[in-house]
């Protein structure tokens, strides 16, 4: 049974694409955040209030959003370096007080100042794999499998980072990497921080909105099916995410392939 199967009040999902949350400034005493919501995604056939919930490490602070068009809100309950995430909720008022009409999944804000340095960590090694385009070799430390791309593909496309090539192998490689880890170790705790396995699981948990299962992958309390579904959802989100040039890998491939 998943949480989604019990959406008994017909709550609607507000896609994060319709919500813009930006951290304007961080100080010791407050973090100022600008929130705007595309009004067309808000049902207005009943009374409601629009709220934004901020979270960081067990702390929570709520603000009512006075105007969907844009409001600057000061969050005072978080440390300067808080790794904030937000949810926007449309909540019924009046006779149906407290029912959630619509809500977003977790949203990570855009930082106005300071860009996060991102180094790719799905970096395949190049080898002659014969007729095999790519593979993952699990022979050594399970947490650090080898990602291998057929050298002839890089020769053909010019770089392993070529968007046409990446759109063909990356989603499938991510799927096999995640499912391979989930099936081989009992829980994410077994994957040390610096390993590829530890990094990719942590990255997917943080970056994607796929519903996170509880408990370990395997063992008596394991939720293998839920974790495999999570992996599948992460792959879909990965494919749907706009990476370079604010485009999905697939769009980049179509563009480059013209």
């Amino acid at each position: 049974m998943t949480a989604a199967s019990l959406n008994f009040t017909k709550r609607r999902k507000i896609k994060s694409a319709f919500v813009d949350i930006r951290v304007l400034v961080r100080t010791e005493s407050y973090i100022r955040v600008r929130v705007s919501v595309d009004a067309k995604v808000l049902l207005d056939d009943e009374g409601y209030r629009l709220v934004v919930d901020g979270f960081d490490r067990g702390r929570h602070q709520r603000h009512t959003i006075p105007s969907p068009a844009g409001a600057d809100l000061d969050f005072t309950g978080f440390p300067l370096d808080a790794s904030l995430r937000f949810k926007v909720r449309q909540i019924a008022i009046g006779s149906d007080e407290g029912r959630v009409i619509a809500a977003t999944a977790d949203i990570h804000p855009v930082e106005i100042e300071g860009k996060v340095q991102r180094e790719p960590f799905i970096v395949p090694e190049l080898e002659d794999l014969g007729a095999l385009p790519w593979c993952i070799q699990w022979e050594g430390d399970v947490a650090d499998p080898r990602l291998v791309l057929n050298r002839r593909l890089e020769d053909k496309f010019g770089s392993w980072r070529d968007p046409v090539l990446q759109s063909l192998y990356l989603p499938a490689m991510l799927r096999e990497l995640l499912t391979g880890l989930i099936c081989r170790v009992e829980s994410a705790e077994e994957l040390d921080e610096g390993t590829l396995g530890g990094r990719i699981i942590a990255f997917c948990k943080e970056r994607f909105e796929a519903e996170l299962p509880t408990g370990p992958f395997g063992g008596p309390d394991g939720n293998l099916d839920d974790w495999l579904k999570w992996a599948e959802d992460c792959v879909v989100e990965f494919a749907e995410t706009k990476w370079r040039k604010d485009k999905t890998l697939f769009d980049l491939m179509l563009e480059e392939g013209k």
């Binding site: 008994f8 979270f55 067990g58 929570h60 440390p79 370096d81 959630v100 077994e190 921080e193 942590a202």
Partner: protein, 257 residues
């Protein structure tokens, strides 16, 4: 740490933290169980050598000359530890002081390691003793989180912390989810339903698997996300949340009455 009792509160320097980290890594690398949550068995001598790093003057510096800590204090639970530490370390900024929490962990190390029947102790991952800022691991620091949860919830923190000082079970971990820890109404309800005030511990059966109907873990992991999806739990008092709980939780209502 039996050489002294009340001493000024110290913190490890950067070099001190690195030394502790290396020492833990070394012991875990030598052990037969290197990874996972079970921990690496270490001898009493190894434990003592690790704890003694807190006494090395070249690795520590004063945190606050006005504050003293009783290094011989024995804690019955993480709740006791959290309450004691919260009475000493009152500055909120201490939360980000890696050196302080590493030093406190070394001072009380023997209580932070589970003891085996053969006399060895189980040394866990580094993040149990050296704070890790990662969003997915920060709450696994045994001493700091006892302090932090007590500061946030006071007496109510016994719901989370009524376990031995070395325990960070899946049960404790699940209860650290933001949607649970950050909602005082939900905490009130859980305390009312699941905590036996007279016995000063969680009721029997509360910590069962999340697949067990009516368990705390099931409320935290399965039921509360469903309720959050449908209701604004942040503005619902505990009594109203109780009214919308599934029938499986009714078995606790009589006990709580």
């Amino acid at each position: 740490m039996s050489e002294f009792a009340n001493i000024p509160v110290m913190r490890f320097t950067h070099q001190g933290i690195a030394t502790v980290r290396l020492a833990i890594e070394g012991l875990r690398d030598q052990g037969s169980t290197k990874k996972g949550s079970q921990g690496t068995p270490i001898s009493a001598e190894e434990l003592s050598a690790l704890a003694q790093l807190a006494l090395r003057q070249d690795l520590v510096e004063p945190y606050d000359d006005m504050l003293e800590i009783d290094t011989t204090k024995q804690f019955a639970s993480r709740y006791d530890m959290g309450r004691y530490l919260a009475g000493i370390v009152t500055n909120a900024q201490a939360e980000r002081d890696t050196g302080l929490w590493t030093w406190i962990s070394m001072v009380y190390l023997s209580q932070l390691l589970a003891r085996r029947k053969d006399g060895q102790s189980l040394l866990g991952s580094e993040y149990r003793y050296i704070p890790d800022d990662n969003r997915l691991r920060y709450y696994r620091h045994l001493a700091k989180m006892a302090w932090s949860i007590f500061r946030q919830y006071g007496e109510k923190s016994k719901l989370f912390l009524s376990v031995s000082c070395s325990t960070h079970s899946d049960f404790v971990e699940q209860s650290q989810k933001d949607d649970v820890r950050s909602n005082p109404h939900l905490i009130d309800l859980c305390l009312d339903l699941f905590y036996d005030e007279k016995a000063a511990k969680l009721r029997k059966g509360v910590a069962s698997s999340e697949k067990t109907p009516g368990s705390f873990r099931r409320l935290v992991s399965v039921i509360s996300p469903q309720l959050y999806m449908n209701f604004d739990l942040y503005e619902m008092p505990a009594g109203r949340i109780r009214d919308i709980l599934p029938r499986e939780f009714r078995k606790w209502f009589d006990q709580a009455a």
